[in-house]
Symmetry: C2
Subunit: 409 residues, 2 copies
């Protein structure tokens, strides 16, 4: 087939990058280039609206392939608020180029944009197939067992909380409380992943607060005090989006206190202030930050493999003529019967577009000190089962000739 007779497809990477979103792009390209002329959309929605495309010829493909194991979104991502008329304009651009296939890799906002592109094309009488490839560190997409990007981020969070906890254990005569803030504006999946390597009560984190459960300050302070009295120090993990009983996001409360400053922000800083004020304990707030979604050394091999697989599967859907769907990872009887951890499926875009998948209530126990065995076994498949808990020995209570020796605290 002459290259210029091939149907054309445009692909973009939308929203915040992950450690493995380039693997989805490379997987897609590897499968697509035999069958399609492929155009990369620069900066995703912005590129769609501004008609900013790059043809993925052999030279460009060679460059993109270098990014298979590299974080970020090599086509450019960013965010863009879509104004009325933007989707119609984007359809017009595609029409001028005779591009009838569109693939966007992204989260629930991107799936909403996919659905809007589908509707805008219908309204314009333009034949456009639209496929979504899921991607998010937040793991907040419905209909899929999990989302590529989450496993690597969870791996970074679990290792960080284990290691920062070991550091705090050593420093407990100087610094007593650390409040670690993970990503997760509305859902607690990443905060919960910090419990992956907790095997005993004294292992960090001592407790976890997620946006799905209100954070009552008195109870929070009581949890800190109890951990300090039991273990000598308190390692706490919170999602950035934790809320109080009225649903107010704590980081917004912190911001309002010094509304003229952009320096503030971070629920962990707000809570650290409360610990210092009410418990008079030495406390540090720490955001795990951007490394959660981009630290290459902690990318999960399973996560990357799944991201690549979904990229390839998108091409198969296109070739079957499917449209208006997002690819999913499905764990069901069929996958079980085949001996697979999951199989690839799909679901209509409107079932995921703009919706969120909260952390199920049974993942954390009532006091947020443990995650269920089922959750941890599931997460180990995504994040890697090579990470281990530390022994948790402490010499602090042992004195020569005193209480003697060493014990686990």
């Amino acid at each position: 087939m002459n290259a210029h007779n091939k149907p054309k497809v445009a692909i973009g990477q939308a929203g915040g990058p992950t450690s493995v979103v380039n693997a989805s792009l490379v997987g897609f390209l590897e499968e697509a280039r035999d069958h399609f002329r492929v155009f990369g959309i620069v900066n995703a929605l912005q590129g769609l609206v501004e008609d900013w495309l790059v043809e993925v010829d052999d030279q460009v493909y060679g460059k993109i392939r270098e990014y298979f194991r590299i974080p970020g979104s090599v086509l450019g991502s960013g965010r863009r608020h879509m104004a009325p008329g933007d989707f119609a304009a984007a359809v017009d651009h595609l029409r001028k180029r005779d591009i009838h296939h569109l693939v966007l890799i992204g989260g629930n906002g991107t799936m909403y944009a996919c659905r809007q592109m589908e509707l805008a094309a219908q309204a314009a009488g333009y034949d456009l197939t639209v496929i979504g490839i899921p991607k998010t560190v937040d793991n907040d997409l419905l209909e899929t067992d999990h989302t590529p990007g989450y496993g690597s981020a969870a791996r970074y969070v679990a290792a960080s909380v284990r290691d920062i906890g070991e550091d705090l254990k050593a420093m407990q005569n100087f610094e007593t409380v650390r409040i670690i803030e993970t990503m997760g504006r509305n859902v607690g999946w990443l905060a919960a992943s910090s419990l992956l390597l907790k095997e005993a009560e004294h292992h960090p984190p001592h407790f976890v607060y997620v946006p799905e459960r209100p954070l009552v300050l008195d109870r929070f302070l009581g949890d800190v005090e109890r951990a300090v009295s039991r273990f000598g120090y308190a390692m706490v993990v919170i999602s950035e989006g934790v809320r109080d009983l009225s649903g107010q996001v704590l980081s917004r409360i912190a911001l309002n206190r010094d509304a003229n400053s952009t320096v503030l922000g971070g629920a962990s800083k707000y809570l650290a202030n409360q610990v210092a004020r009410h418990l008079n304990l030495p406390v540090r707030a720490e955001l795990l930050g951007m490394n959660q979604r981009c630290f290459a050394a902690m990318a999960s091999a399973a996560d990357r493999m799944e991201a690549e697989l979904l990229g390839r599967e998108a091409v198969r859907l296109l070739r079957r003529g499917e449209s208006g769907v997002m690819l999913t990872l499905v764990r069901d009887e069929a996958s079980g019967a085949a001996g697979l951890p999951f199989r690839v499926g799909s679901c209509p875009l409107e079932r995921v577009a703009g919706k969120e998948r909260p952390l199920p209530d049974d993942v954390l126990n009532e006091d947020g000190t443990q995650a269920s065995a089922a959750f941890k076994a599931w997460l180990r498949q995504l994040a890697g089962d090579d990470l281990k808990a530390y022994p948790g020995w402490s010499f602090m209570p042992g004195r020569v000739g005193g209480r003697g020796g060493v014990r686990r605290i």
Copy 2:
């Protein structure tokens, strides 16, 4: 030799932990236990003053060995301000236990404490040999080519800045400037390590500010603007201890602004505010945080090996009857002739106690955009030579039918 006829030695881990300080302890114990009865000092200086020791019998040794590859300080560390009389009290405790050998693993503050212990013992007429094993992520000890702990921290910093830069490159239509803050209250060694993986001007970081050079705000803002105009975004790295022309530490300026709040702090936040106010660019400040000194997955194998080696060498010094010295890593003609990257040496405690080793002026070029080739070759030996720069491709300026294709920016 009956265990109870062996001379006794006490060892402690002082100051902030590193990813490899437990390797020094394990190396010491492995070598020492045939020749000495060993006592672990819990919480270092605090344990010395409060007579808080644990005998390292077979059971305790078995537990400590589990920590060879684990961050933190398994004996407990923390910090303690030593009051007048504390050193004399510590000598008294050692005398009662008939412990005539003391080894502390630590930084320049710890070497000062070692020296004070030596003087207090002399004043009390007590025979005490004192050896210091260097340890610090800051690399600010004099007399040694480098300090165990730094290589692993530098590795984390270099990888983080590379990865967070790649993430920002993808997000540049949404977020334009990131200011990354490393450890380093007085010295720029860790901030400079962020240049390890920079091979081209467009690679992150675009420039670095260290405490050894005054940060003039106008120039800083000019540097940000120039990077944004050249590369589309600006990745900046600063040491936490950067100062203005008058020597004022920027994070203190930030703190003074809201003196009633413990929430603030961080020179990066202060500078991000300035970028937002004066340049009106979307900016984020990010502290690399505790993971710099404890993220186990990024511990450098060379760093761990050196830490262990110095632990073993401390035993050899003790057995030769040396005292009042800190072990060093020496790169000189003798090491060169032997084909070694360095040899082990020692220096009198007073040459390092309480002193700091600034980053030499020739490591960074005048505008802080590059580190010297010699520095990078040296650092690669400490941090590992497996980390690579990313290609740095950007599709942003390329449009189909426009300026065409892809180029490096």
